[in-house]
């Protein structure tokens, strides 16, 4: 129990640190962006007075240190500021709808990766035909070499354009219709993540099969099915949760790019739009939300890992 509590508070502390790091980092980075944000909002023909007025309204004429303290104070109030491009719009209310798209995409991709990865990995470890194992490993190698957006392009062409069983991009805006637009991009992300899981599961399963307790069970005449379900499977899926946790960042980055391929209105397109219009508070908000969600995801991975493996609760 103590180990769980310690992990929990350790991660919470990390969330706070990451939020601070990202807020300070983005505020400094934004200061370095060439050009005047107020000028780019108002246009080249705006008068110098109005540009100046807007800069002070947005707090951009303050010294860097004051901007930093303001940003950090606002962060703890849960206030991410207001958008530059959509004047008066709260950043959080602008980002949340896009975040829900990305989160749904990531969740589906995670589930698909875990399920297909465990199934394929276990099957490859258990098959008695080495050529099947070799073929499976070759396919995994190719898939691991495929960036998500390239897998997306291939899937888009096959399933959406040739077979016509999925839309070639876009968004329904309401559930459950959204699922129709999500499964193909999720599959594109699964190509990589699922192969990573399958490889780890195959490896862990092979190691477990070599352990003496499995050999002992065989000697006692325990049926094969029971050995697989009771002894091999629980040990083979142990690396899955930490592996997915470690790849949370890769998943978010991958999702952002795959969204662009499938024109989903997620964080990726919101980010591109905000970058193009120099909407710096929105850029900052997206960076913050993405970074924090990665750490939260890691926390969930830690906790579920401890729930799954009693040994982790005792050590430390």
């Amino acid at each position: 129990m103590i180990a769980i509590v310690r992990t929990f508070w350790g991660r919470i502390l990390q969330i706070v640190l990451v939020a601070l790091f990202v807020t300070i980092g983005t505020t400094v980075l934004i200061r370095l962006v060439p050009g005047d944000p107020a000028r780019s909002i108002l246009g080249a023909r705006a008068s110098d007075e109005s540009v100046k007025a807007l800069n002070s309204e947005l707090g951009l004429d303050l010294p860097l240190f004051e901007q930093l303290t303001n940003a950090v104070l606002n962060l703890f109030r849960g206030d991410l500021g207001t958008s530059f491009a959509f004047r008066g719009q709260d950043v959080i209310s602008l980002i949340l709808p896009s975040l829900s798209v990305t989160a749904a995409l990531a969740a589906i991709a995670l589930t698909l990766s875990a399920v297909s990865g465990i199934a394929v990995g276990l099957a490859l470890a258990l098959t008695k035909r080495p050529e099947l194992d070799l073929a499976g490993r070759l396919v995994m190698t190719v898939l691991l070499a495929t960036p998500g957006f390239m897998a997306g392009l291939v899937l888009l062409y096959i399933f959406a354009i040739n077979l016509g069983i999925a839309p070639a991009g876009g968004w329904a805006g309401e559930w459950p219709d959204n699922a129709k637009y999500l499964w193909l991009p999720a599959l594109a992300l699964t190509a990589y993540l699922g192969s990573l899981v399958a490889r780890a599961v195959r490896q862990a399963a092979l190691e477990t099969i070599g352990e003496s307790f499995v050999q002992a069970a065989r000697t006692r005449g325990v049926p094969r099915r029971r050995i697989v379900m009771r002894h091999v499977l629980p040990n083979a899926i142990l690396p899955v949760i930490p592996l997915l946790g470690l790849n949370a960042g890769a998943l978010v980055s991958g999702a952002v790019i795959v969204e662009a391929v499938f024109t989903l209105p997620g964080l990726g397109s919101r980010l591109v739009e905000a970058m193009a219009s120099r909407d710096l508070p929105v850029v900052q908000g997206i960076a913050l939300l993405a970074a924090v969600s990665i750490v939260v995801f890691n926390l969930l991975a830690d906790l579920s890992n401890m729930a799954a493996d009693p040994r982790l609760r005792k050590t430390h």
């Binding site: 990451v18 390239m150 392009l153 062409y157 952002v256 391929v261 990726g268």
Partner: protein, 295 residues
């Protein structure tokens, strides 16, 4: 994908005593195929990658093996000209962080001062939690998409700045971890007993044993950087058109994928050949256990 994705397997990556020879050979052959094609095809086929050679969106033919693009440029010559640029950028993007990160990680791993170690590790923690692609886009915004350093095309400096600023963290962590393991070994303890200087221990004894670990990761990092550069045009950054670059060719192909699959697919194919080669080389360098059968 990003560098962090590869870390779990490679944190324990030690060069095997007996690399899987076949996998290594096939992998090197695939990489060499793409590299040599990128070097030699633009030499023998002197078509200008930006010249309009035929009607737009012509399917692959003998004259244009990969067809033509939206304005009638030859995709074949564009893909391999792009290969020169993407591979150069990837190598440049790997070498600087590899050298810097390995040396820094070894130094802080060997140092007895905890303060430096804590500062660098917390900093890398923060950077690793930061979604890489967002950081890259912000750096692209700061450096500006038009910034150039001849002879590299516009957009290249921002891509390099982004990878240099971020990627050393993984190498530093790997090198630090490896150094900590090495410090337990007798041959490093012996250097202390012999009274060797810190500099001598690091350069003559630690670095030669740390290199193989970080260099193995660098091979897979090469692929991550190729993927990153190619992803940027989809997010409104990266190498600026009309320069031939894998990502911008694919992005252009995405827009017309229903009429002209060959624009995206020829690029995807070439990148996959390279990527599969890289994965095979990495796999052959990283030890995995033998296959046991369950009867």
């Amino acid at each position: 994908m990003t560098a962090a994705a590869q870390v779990p397997g490679l944190a324990s990556a030690q060069p095997t005593t007996r690399p899987k020879q076949l996998e290594l050979r096939v992998g090197i052959t695939l990489i060499a195929l793409v590299v040599l094609a990128s070097i030699f095809i633009p030499i023998f086929n002197t078509t200008d990658p930006n010249a309009l050679v035929a009607a737009p969106l012509e399917p692959p033919s003998l004259a244009h093996p990969f067809g033509t693009d939206t304005v009638g440029r030859d995709v074949f010559i564009r893909v391999f000209t792009a290969g020169r640029l993407d591979l150069t950028l990837a190598v440049l993007g790997v070498i600087v962080p590899l050298v810097f990160g390995t040396i820094l990680g070894t130094v802080i791993g060997a140092s007895r001062k905890k303060a430096l170690d804590v500062v660098v590790m917390r900093f890398t923690d923060g950077l690793i939690a930061f979604p890489f692609i967002i950081l890259v886009l912000m750096i692209v915004l700061i450096v500006g998409p038009e910034a150039t350093i001849p002879p590299l095309p516009p957009g290249a400096p921002s891509v390099l700045a982004a990878t240099w600023l971020v990627n050393w963290t993984t190498y530093a962590r790997l090198a630090r971890l490896r150094t900590h393991i090495l410090r337990q070994e007798d041959f490093i303890s012996a250097t202390g007993l012999l009274g060797y200087s810190r500099t001598r221990v690091i350069t003559k004894h630690l670095l030669p044993s740390v290199w193989p670990t970080t260099a193995t990761f660098a091979v897979s990092d090469l692929l991550s950087i190729v993927a990153l550069i190619a992803a940027l045009p989809f997010l409104g950054g990266g190498i600026q058109p009309p320069t031939a670059e894998w990502g911008s060719i694919m992005y252009e192909g995405r827009g017309v994928i229903s009429q002209a699959w060959w624009i995206s697919f020829s690029t995807v194919g070439v990148v996959l050949l390279l990527g599969t080669g890289v994965m095979m080389v990495v796999d052959s360098l990283v030890s995995t256990s033998r296959r046991a059968l369950l009867p």
